[in-house]
């Protein structure tokens, strides 16, 4: 991926030395991701043996047969529920972490996350309009409504920030404004029109859940992830140039306005696609980029691939925890990411404080 064949200077030693080994981190990440998915699909409340899980998957991939060994119900649990869910967790984790890393650098704001552009709030309003008020008359799925809401919200943010002058801090302020507006709209609709059962369902979705994952979500998410990841990696060098602000970037040969537009649209598209299928899973996009930066250093050619892999592994395990810890009851994955993420965040901040 990042064949950064750097001539490591002999003087490098101590913790900084780990910065010089991007391939090691990337390779370790790929191995960890494959292993995580392989193990995570075997874990679950339904009592299905590891061997059965693997024979189901092997059968669907065209290697071997399950005839007479695994019942159709168990086959369905593994192939239609667990595997797409685990894969969607990986896609969401990767996408959210990459979006967070890109936005933090582009907006020069360590508190930026994939939802800073109002995408998640717009998505929740769209979803609520479909679920509670039946907008779309059944032709529109929850995901569809969420995606349209997310795109509307992002368009509003871009319009607002453009008319306010288009600078970085205006983008963030416009995002905050949109977030407040759409959150208020969502609450308004839920409080005035929804019954208790619907409210609970909506709340679950708002907190982020991979429970409804199907193969179509996995394919759509993967396609957008690959596209956006390619765009971001193509801009890795350009993102480095933003370290000292947009004027400095411009004097290093970057088309600031064009780069900002391309990267904001790319990350918003990916976030919208992920939020539409899994809700607003918080904290992954905020915390993981900081943690990964401590490992790889700030260069984006190294940071972004490792971020994607770390995010994927992290969310696969957090979702496994979310669906098993109180089984058969499920905890929204967004709740677990925050419960785990906050102490991890504090630890990262504490370590960087000591490094200064």
């Amino acid at each position: 991926m990042t064949s950064a064949s750097r001539a490591a200077p002999a003087s490098v030693s101590g913790p900084r030395a780990s910065r010089r080994a991007p391939l090691v981190w990337t390779a370790a990440g790929i191995v960890a991701l494959c292993a995580s998915v392989a193990v995570a699909v075997t874990i679950g409340p339904a009592d299905i043996g590891v061997a059965d899980v693997w024979s189901v998957i092997a059968a669907h991939l065209g290697a071997g047969t399950t005839a007479g060994e695994v019942t159709p119900i168990r086959d369905g649990i593994v192939w239609d529920l667990r595997l797409p869910r685990t894969l969607l967790a990986a896609v969401c984790g990767a996408g959210l972490a990459v979006c967070g890393a890109v936005l933090q650098s582009l907006l020069r704001n360590p508190l930026a996350d994939p939802f800073v552009l109002g995408v998640s709030s717009g998505a929740s309003t769209g979803a609520v309009l479909v679920v509670v008020l039946g907008v779309g008359g059944g032709a529109l799925s929850v995901s569809g409504g969420a995606f349209i809401g997310a795109v509307c919200s992002f368009a509003l943010v871009m319009l607002l920030s453009h008319s306010l002058g288009g600078t970085t801090d205006r983008v963030v302020l416009a995002g905050v404004a949109a977030m407040q507006l759409f959150s208020a709209l969502t609450s308004f609709v839920v409080m005035t029109a929804a019954d208790a059962e619907t409210t609970r369902g909506v709340l679950f979705w708002l907190l982020g859940s991979l429970g409804g994952a199907g193969w179509s979500d996995v394919w759509a998410g993967t396609a957008v992830l690959v596209l956006v990841l390619a765009v971001c990696l193509g801009h890795a060098r350009t993102l480095d140039a933003f370290a000292f602000g947009q004027d400095a970037a411009a004097s290093l040969g970057v088309h600031v306005a064009r780069t900002r537009l391309v990267l904001l649209c790319a990350t918003a598209l990916l976030t919208a696609a992920l939020v539409a299928s899994a809700g607003a899973i918080g904290f992954v996009g905020l915390v993981l980029p900081h943690a990964v930066r401590a490992l790889t250093g700030p260069g984006h050619a190294r940071l972004l691939p490792v971020c994607a892999l770390a995010g994927a592994v992290f969310l696969v395990w957090v979702d496994t925890l979310a669906r098993t810890v109180l089984a058969p009851q499920e905890v929204p994955v967004g709740v677990v990411t925050s419960l785990i993420g906050v102490p991890a965040f504090v630890l990262v901040l504490y370590r960087t404080r000591r490094a200064r």
Binding site: T2, S3, A4, S5, R6, A7, P9, S11, V12, R16, S105, R108, N109, P110, L233, G234, H235, A236, R237, T238, D240, A241, A243, F244, G245, D247, A248, A250, S251, L252, G253, V254, H255, R293, G297, P298, G299, A301, T352, A355, R356
Partner: protein, 257 residues
């Protein structure tokens, strides 16, 4: 031929900040840009860097208008050092100097051996090799400015623009920074507030007031008591007591008006 501003004007919000300014820095020399706050020094530098477009007139590089060249092509020729910069990112000294290679690198390709060599040379040249792995945040203001200037040779420009690079530095670092710039084999334009520093280090001075050039030439021709009184409203005594007989300005007090 080099960077050249031809009758450039710039207005923002209906206010004229630069009014038909001509500037042709002498190749290989250090040109000092003087003038009170708000006289248009920073704006002129931003026009020269191509970061800002003039509302009238044109900036050319080897005769080609900047706005018809790609941003990357301009950045390979012209490097900029801003007056005070900061970053949220945890960068080492080497990382900051490496930023200078960005205009020379292509997307999707890692840094080449030539890139790393230019970075190592720039660190060596600015005496920063021993501090290459220090974190930017742990440096003093003077050291940070030195690192920013070290980024310039890594960028391998032929023109270097500096906006008040000595601001907020102690006197040792002020002298140090300007000596470093003077020793670089580039055509430089540097905005300065300190008239004595400008007189000692610059080969050529251009004085701006209210967006217009009011004087230009060798330090000894430009820095007169008359000019200081007219442009800065300050009473000054000027003697050839500077290094190598260059003018030295002693301020006596402000003038009314």
């Amino acid at each position: 031929m080099t960077l050249r501003a031809e009758r450039v004007s710039r207005s923002t919000g209906g206010r004229l900040i630069l009014d038909g300014v001509e500037l042709t820095p002498r190749a290989g020399a250090m040109t000092g840009l003087l003038g009170p706050n708000g006289s248009g020094k920073s704006t002129l530098l931003r026009l020269l860097a191509g970061v800002l477009a003039p509302t009238a007139g044109v900036v050319t590089l080897d005769g080609r208008p900047l706005d018809r060249m790609g941003r990357r092509d301009v950045a390979r020729r012209v490097a900029v050092v801003e007056q005070q910069t900061d970053t949220q990112v945890e960068l080492t000294v080497r990382d900051v100097v490496r930023l200078g290679r960005i205009p020379h690198r292509r997307a999707w390709t890692p840094a080449s051996a030539a890139d790393e060599e230019a970075v190592t040379d720039a660190l060596e040249h600015t005496g920063l090799t021993g501090r290459a792995d220090r974190l930017w945040h742990t440096l003093s203001g003077g050291e940070r400015q030195r690192v920013q200037i070290a980024r310039a040779p890594a960028q391998q420009p032929r023109e270097l623009l500096l906006d008040e690079p000595t601001n907020h530095l102690d006197i040792q670092h002020q002298l140090d920074v300007l000596a470093l710039v003077a020793a670089l084999p580039v055509t430089s334009v540097v905005a300065l507030h300190d008239l004595n520093l400008a007189a000692s280090y610059c080969d050529h001075l251009v004085v701006l007031a209210k967006g217009r050039v009011v004087a230009r030439g060798e330090p000894a021709e430009v820095l007169t008591a008359d000019l200081v009184a007219k442009v800065y409203r300050v009473d000054a005594e000027i003697t050839p007591a500077g290094p190598a007989g260059r003018p030295h300005v002693r301020f006596l007090g402000t003038l009314p008006g």
